[in-house]
């Protein structure tokens, strides 16, 4: 009886029904929905794209590369949702010098091909978008930047993306990674500010920016490149936050390092910690027995 009552109540609650339906959807579709939402919001409210050619190039190259390489590698064209997510991410994050299109093409190619080339035990190690952006920033800082769009520095837009992001992260089962990293960022950078007598707010402010929204909802939580097990995922998220804090500390001190590290400390924290953690995780994986 009580079960019947509960079911009825759930059926009557549209939010609960939506939550149940969402649980049956392939997580990649939810992620694709979220990143499309971010793109549409950024374009409608802030004309972020400027022109649509960069979106066409990034999406086109990502999806074509994925189709070609998967066909060569596996003899079939895989689902292109992952390439779609990478293409949108690159479109949102990259701002090239002089409106050039080649960084979108090269970034798209690097992102997708990294999945097929930089592999260990049949798994890729880097989040594709993270790898592509880190490579572009390191190789061509005179031509590519990542900090050119702030979505209006608007609280409303931030709240919409955070709300949808957290809901979808919860549904996809990666919210613990997001929250751990955010908590780690706030604690470690707050402590860094206090330790060195810096104002607190500027040190924790970056977490509210669009670059971090894409980072915490799409890169650090990428199901294909996170380690196995909730506890290990939390540990790795903490390690990434620690690495980022170290990079920021080095930037504070003006220690010599590539400009790219100053520009995007979170991306380089993930690009260095993530693959090592994944490699260790895969190394411990027992070989499959037939």
């Amino acid at each position: 009886m009580s079960d019947v009552t509960a079911t009825t109540a759930s059926d009557r609650n549209p939010l609960a029904r939506a939550w149940q339906r969402a649980s049956k959807i392939d997580p990649r579709y939810l992620i694709a929905f979220l990143i499309t939402l971010v793109l549409v919001a950024a374009q409608v409210r802030y004309h972020m794209l400027g022109s649509y050619d960069r979106l066409v190039v990034a999406l086109g190259v990502c999806m074509a590369t994925e189709a070609l390489l998967s066909w060569f590698d596996r003899g079939r064209v895989v689902n292109l949702l992952s390439a779609y997510i990478s293409g949108i991410s690159l479109t949102l994050l990259i701002k090239p010098q002089g409106g050039a299109l080649w960084p979108f093409a090269l970034g798209g190619f690097l992102a997708i091909s990294s999945k097929y080339v930089l592999r260990y035990r049949e798994n890729h190690l880097w989040n594709p978008t993270n790898f592509a952006i880190a490579a572009l920033l390191l190789a061509a800082p005179d031509r590519v930047s990542v900090l050119s769009h702030q979505f209006g520095n608007d609280l409303t837009t931030n709240l919409v993306i955070w709300t949808f992001g957290l809901i979808i992260a919860a549904r996809v089962g990666v919210i613990h990674i997001t929250l751990t990293y955010v908590a780690g960022f706030l604690l470690l950078n707050g402590a860094r500010a206090l330790a060195f007598g810096q104002p607190l707010l500027p040190e924790i402010a970056p977490i509210t920016g669009p670059m971090y929204q894409l980072f915490i909802f799409f890169m650090i939580t990428d199901p294909r490149t996170v380690v196995r097990g909730r506890r290990k995922q939390i540990i790795v998220a903490v390690l990434i936050a620690v690495m980022e804090t170290l990079i920021r500390f080095a930037s504070d001190k003006g220690w010599p390092m590539p400009t790219a590290f100053n520009v995007a400390p979170a991306f380089f924290a993930l690009a260095t910690v993530g693959p090592v953690a994944k490699w260790i995780d895969l190394r411990r994986k027992r070989p499959t027995t037939n």
């Binding site: 802030y46 004309h47 400027g50 022109s51 701002k95 090239p96 010098q97 002089g98 409106g99 050039a100 920033l137 800082p141 005179d142 590519v144 930047s145 900090l147 050119s148 769009h149 702030q150 979505f151 209006g152 520095n153 608007d154 609280l155 931030n158 810096q198 104002p199 707010l201 500027p202 040190e203 402010a205 970056p206 509210t208 920016g209 669009p210 670059m211 971090y212 930037s251 504070d252 003006g254 400009t259 790219a260 100053n262 520009v263």
Partner: protein, 563 residues
């Protein structure tokens, strides 16, 4: 028999730009050094940022002797503005004090940010408006040597934290009206702050800046605030304005370069009101620093070059070269790419034919704050750039600037136009090598020799005069326009020159670039062309005048016909 050997004897390229520029500041006797202001200690942490503007230069012929003079503004209390009288022998004499235009940086009044010259009463002598972080100041030219402060009488004693102003006869009544841009809100006194919530609330779409103002010249030395009536009170942190008839309807429009936001184009509806146009400018939000007008591709239209910020790895906002397609498609089209898109942290810019080959070059001043070379504020800036706007609206929450540089020690750029091959920077090749923090750029033929000299006002640093030495084989022509039904300074008049396949337009500006104003005389390079077929003058009054076969290699004076 018609002889047209093309644009120039040899097409300009990086190796053979066809001109040289020499720093002859000292030889000219110009020793002006700009000093930046200091403000309320509540914003001491980011004072280098807030106080990073104020170096300006404007060209005038205040004594009517036919030789362009220069006026520089200073921005620290007690530091004098400088008026350099052109002695005609390549040297200048500083006469600001005797003219009554030196002592304009005083507590209670504010500090100078720039000046624009124009004959507001059509008496044949150019008057001057000084805009400040503080009260506007209008001076009437009494006798070509002395100036009288008529601000109060003119109804212009308004506190505006302004970085720009232009003269524009928006209603074509023959009297110069005044458009003043505002940066910080006008209720802010930077020396006596009641709050530290004074900064922009978005790096991209801020609308909490000061309100721009339009004053109608009523005649008799009086002005009336018509901002709201005319609909031009943008609050988008405007740094620069320029005016021309962009859509060819005979009425002068207003183009704004806004910091922390998209550019704006206000189209003039027959002098009755301005309409904010959706001319393709709203699609990109950048940090507009200056707007220069020029016929970039000899299309017979005035295009707009708007400078922006680029910094390695951090930010590529990219400069805009917006081709004017207003009369055909109702929009501007951005065609900036390659070298011209990224000049660094770009400030003042101007189009001018430096090699007299018949195509415009583009001079761009760069660099924001040059301090400790080993410390950059960019990393600190990146922390707050993505934050919620309320955080960085508060100047007190910004990371302390200290002695850091922010895009400092950047060279000026001198781009030559190679047509389909694009623009190329030839600054080093032609001798422009300084690393000052350039702000205002003004062009003038200082010695009436058919060359476009470049004057750069540098922030907190000495000004520079680059003398232009163009290829002597190329011909040129200059026009001095005298308005009769239009304002006497002919500000807003446009000249369309036709010489063979050369078809180029210029406008007499009442202020353009950033905190600058060019020589009112219009210079055209002709290349190897030995005559001009036709010149059409579009006077602000609406009169269209045609002059055929004017004499070249000299200055042609044209007076507006009565009808």
């Amino acid at each position: 028999m018609r002889l047209d050997r093309g644009a120039s004897r040899a097409a300009a390229d990086a190796a053979h730009p066809g001109f040289a520029m020499r720093d002859e500041t000292a030889a000219a006797g110009i020793n002006f050094v700009h000093h930046r202001p200091t403000f309320d200690s509540k914003i001491a942490g980011i004072e280098p940022h807030v106080a990073a503007l104020g170096a300006s230069v404007s060209v005038t012929d205040f004594n009517g002797d036919g030789k362009p003079d220069l006026y520089f503004t200073n921005s620290a209390f007690g530091q004098a503005n400088a008026l350099y009288r052109n002695k005609g022998d390549g040297t200048f004499e500083e006469v600001a004090a005797s003219a009554g235009l030196a002592d304009l940086n005083k507590p209670g009044d504010g500090v100078s940010m720039g000046a624009i010259w124009g004959d507001i009463d059509n008496d044949g002598r150019e008057d001057v408006l000084v805009y400040r972080y503080g009260y506007l100041a209008l001076f009437r030219n009494i006798d070509g040597h002395h100036f009288e402060d008529i601000t109060e009488k003119a109804g212009l004693r308004r506190w505006v934290n302004s970085n720009g102003a232009i003269w524009i006869d928006y209603d074509r009544d023959g009297l110069l009206d005044l458009y003043v841009t505002a940066y910080f809100r006008s209720d802010i006194d930077l020396w006596h702050l009641k709050t530290t919530m004074i900064m922009h609330n978005s790096f991209e779409f801020a609308t909490n800046g000061g309100k721009n103002l339009l004053f109608h010249n009523l005649g008799g030395g009086k002005f009336e605030d018509v901002t709201d009536k005319m609909g031009v009170g943008s609050t988008r942190w405007t740094l620069a304005a320029a005016s021309a008839d962009f859509n060819g309807d005979g009425w002068p429009d207003i183009y704004l370069a806004n910091d922390y936001g998209p550019e704006e184009l206000y189209l003039n509806d027959h002098g009755k009101r301005f309409v904010l146009s959706t001319a393709g400018l709203e699609s990109e939000s950048k940090s507009g620093m200056a707007v220069a007008l020029g016929d970039a591709f000899n299309s017979g239209r005035l295009d707009a070059f708007v400078t922006n910020i680029s910094e390695r790895g951090y930010l590529f906002q990219n400069n805009n070269l917006r081709v004017n397609e207003m009369s055909t498609k109702g929009r501007f089209r951005n065609v900036a790419e390659g070298a011209i898109a990224d000049a660094g942290w770009a400030w003042g810019a101007q189009f001018g034919d430096l090699n007299n080959d018949g195509a415009n070059e583009l001079f761009v001043a760069n660099g924001f704050i040059s301090a400790d070379r080993k410390k950059s504020y960019w990393y600190a800036m990146s922390k707050i750039a993505g934050a919620n706007g309320r955080l960085f609206e508060d100047a007190a929450t910004w990371p302390a600037f200290g002695n850091a540089s922010l895009s400092g020690y950047e060279p000026s750029r001198v781009y030559i136009n190679r047509g389909v091959a694009g623009w190329v920077d030839v600054a080093k090749n032609v001798g422009v090598t300084d690393l000052y923090d350039g702000r205002a750029v003004a062009l003038a033929d200082l010695s009436n020799r058919g060359a476009v000299d470049v004057i750069v006002a540098n922030q907190n640093q000495p000004a520079i005069v680059y003398r232009d030495y163009p290829d002597s084989a190329n011909h040129w022509i200059e026009f001095k326009l005298i308005g009769t039904r239009s304002n006497r300074s002919a500000i807003g008049a446009e000249v369309l020159l036709e010489a063979g396949i050369l078809n180029q337009r210029r406008v007499v500006d009442g202020g353009s670039g950033f905190a600058s104003q060019n020589d009112r005389r219009l210079h055209f390079g002709l290349g190897s062309r030995e005559w001009v077929d036709r010149v059409t003058i579009f006077w602000p009054s609406g009169i269209r005048q045609v002059v055929t076969r004017p004499a070249i290699d000299g200055i042609v004076t044209i007076t507006e016909p009565e009808r």
